[in-house]
């Protein structure tokens, strides 16, 4: 049987912004698709399958948005499917597309996603919409917000491991600094740790600058078998081949309070550990700290990046904070994390987020990132994406092959 290794043919990403007043969600996705097709060097008419990635009918003000998007990029009457998994939507979409290609259901597929989480509603309404994606009967109606759930998780991490606000402030500084070297990033900023510590409290211990962004934006990626890519992409030989090497998915209970003690308890993302275990097994990774060159982690809040580093096995529990202070995860560090700026700096239009993470890894592995954020000799990259407080967790791994 011919190899069914899945390759990343190309990707495209729009400018992320707090308000893309010039574009509806369909405009944004179309814009990303045009960029992806150009980057991939393919005629979209030859791509066999579509996959729509978006989270929320509330934010996008359109149900079955996939029908519109698929239609607007000229993919009808070819097959289409929509994938939704909260914050993990984009990564889960890529994982699903991986399975479609791997199984032989199709040889090529375009995954396109977007969201208008920006200023089309007030911030209080946005918090309300996201709260609807927690347990609406039990936690939303007592004043719960995602910032508060994550804050309670981090407070427990601080109690168990001595993690400090100053340590997770480092993440907020780093990711917004990295965003300065990414032209599509929403919030490039040159900050100090004290700026973060002195920003207004939102849900303590998280302050304004610890929180990720509400964004308008879209991203698209074309996956295929290598044979398909070689036959249909005019640019296939221009760049090193990037393979979609492995994928893993883990889950956890919707309510934090229903999780067993002591593990995961309130402080840990059990689903991330499970997703990573599967992905590492598939990719043959034994020591992720040395075998991964660059990672895009789901920094919905600054402290979550530290928790993710620990669950993904980059270090032991309780050690990520001091490693972050030591610059291990900075550009130029041992294992650069969120070179794109992450959710804190690049932005997070939900349906596009996981795809945007994969595009950053693609650019890093090709050596095409802005030189100021390019990781030298990056050969293997990881994305970590989750929904809720870890209800859906997806780890995808990409490799440069040459």
């Amino acid at each position: 049987m011919a190899s069914r290794e899945v390759v990343v043919v190309g990707g495209g990403i729009t400018k992320f912004a707090a308000e893309r007043v010039d574009a509806s969600v369909r405009d944004l996705v179309t814009e990303a698709v045009l960029l992806a097709v150009d980057d991939a060097g393919v005629d979209l008419q030859t791509v066999e399958h579509g996959l729509t990635s978006y989270e929320s009918d509330h934010f996008n003000r359109q149900m079955t948005l996939g029908a519109i998007l698929h239609d607007h990029i000229g993919m009808v009457p070819k097959p289409n499917v929509r994938v939704e998994g909260g914050g993990a939507t984009g990564a889960l979409a890529l994982r699903t597309a991986f399975a479609y290609v791997k199984s032989g259901l199709c040889d090529s597929i375009i995954v396109y996603g977007g969201e208008t989480n920006g200023r089309s509603v007030t911030s209080a309404t946005a918090q309300q919409f996201f709260s609807l994606s927690s347990d609406a009967d039990w936690e939303m109606m007592v004043g719960g917000t995602y910032t508060a759930y994550y804050a309670a998780m981090m407070r427990e991490h601080m109690r168990l491991y001595g993690t400090t606000e100053r340590q997770f402030a480092h993440v907020a500084v780093k990711n917004r600094r990295n965003a300065q070297f990414n032209p599509v990033a929403q919030k490039p900023m040159d900050l100090t740790v004290d700026d973060v510590l002195n920003s207004i409290p939102i849900a303590e211990p998280y302050k304004l600058l610890d929180c990720s962004l509400l964004s308008d934006g879209a991203a698209a990626v074309i996956l295929a078998t290598e044979d398909w890519a070689a036959r249909h992409s005019t640019r296939w030989n221009e760049r090193p081949a990037i393979t979609f090497a492995a994928t893993g998915c883990g889950t956890d209970t919707m309510r934090l309070g229903d999780r067993p003690f002591p593990y995961p308890g309130l402080a840990h993302f059990r689903g991330k550990r499970e997703a990573a275990r599967q992905a590492y097994k598939m990719a043959g990774i034994k020591n992720p700290r040395t075998e991964i060159d660059v990672a895009e982690l789901y920094d919905s809040y600054s402290g979550v990046e530290l928790q993710a580093c620990e669950e993904l096995g980059f270090c032991e529990y309780g050690k990520a904070g001091s490693l972050a202070e030591d610059g291990v995860f900075d550009l130029g560090g041992d294992l650069p994390v969120n070179t794109s700026g992450g959710l804190l700096g690049r932005g997070a239009p939900v349906g596009a987020t996981g795809i945007a993470q994969a595009i950053e890894i693609m650019l890093q592995l090709r050596g095409q990132a802005d030189p100021r954020r390019q990781v030298a000799n990056a050969r293997r990259g990881l994305t970590d994406t989750h929904a809720g407080t870890g209800t859906h967790c997806v780890v995808n791994i990409f490799e440069r092959r040459d």
């Binding site: 007043v21 010039d22 009967d137 849900a203 309070g257």
Partner: protein, 173 residues
């Protein structure tokens, strides 16, 4: 149910990526509308209902799995560990704070909450899971801590949602 409130803005939008030749130059004249939406639902509390009805009687209920004896609060009609139908048990309403957050902003549907307010995860006496609710009358914010004893307090309403018939307060240990 839905209203279009008319034109909010009519503006020229710049190319978000700046000085490059703009492929969308023909499409930079933008109109933005206001939309209002309200919905009314009949929202059944289903098999959770007794929990909420007992709050009116100032009693705090959980469910216990007859197979593994695990006590779930909030209640679960089916124990997910055993896929077994549970039954109701009454708890003392006392517990200890495991973790919490101090919120300075409330989501739109709960704009009546006075800020800052405290969301606490509480290990209830006799339960195996944590219950999340508001911690009221906490006095000094710096006194809230892991292990702090709390108790359920009830009110007579009226409230928008029956979950608000209760909250937590600090208790003597």
């Amino acid at each position: 149910m839905a209203t279009v409130t008319g034109k909010l803005k009519h503006l020229p939008a710049p190319d978000p990526l700046g000085p490059n030749p703009d492929p969308w130059a023909d499409f930079r004249e933008i109109e933005v509308l206001g939309l209002e939406w309200t919905q009314h639902y009949k929202h059944s509390l289903g098999k959770y209902s007794r929990f909420f009805l007992e709050l009116e009687n100032r009693r705090f209920f959980a469910t216990r799995c007859p197979k593994c004896q695990k006590v779930w609060t909030p209640p679960r009609p089916v124990c997910p560990d055993d896929l077994t139908i549970t039954g109701w048990v009454e708890l003392s309403g006392r517990g200890q704070v495991v973790s919490f957050s101090v919120l300075h902003y409330a989501p739109a549907m709960l704009s009546f909450l006075k800020t800052p307010y405290v969301l606490a995860y509480v290990k209830m006496e006799g339960a195996d899971t944590l219950f999340a609710h508001l911690l009221q009358n906490f006095g000094d914010l710096s006194q809230i801590r892991h292990g702090m004893p709390v108790r359920v307090v009830y009110n007579n309403g009226p409230v928008d949602h029956p979950i608000m018939l209760m909250a937590f307060e600090p208790a003597d240990s």
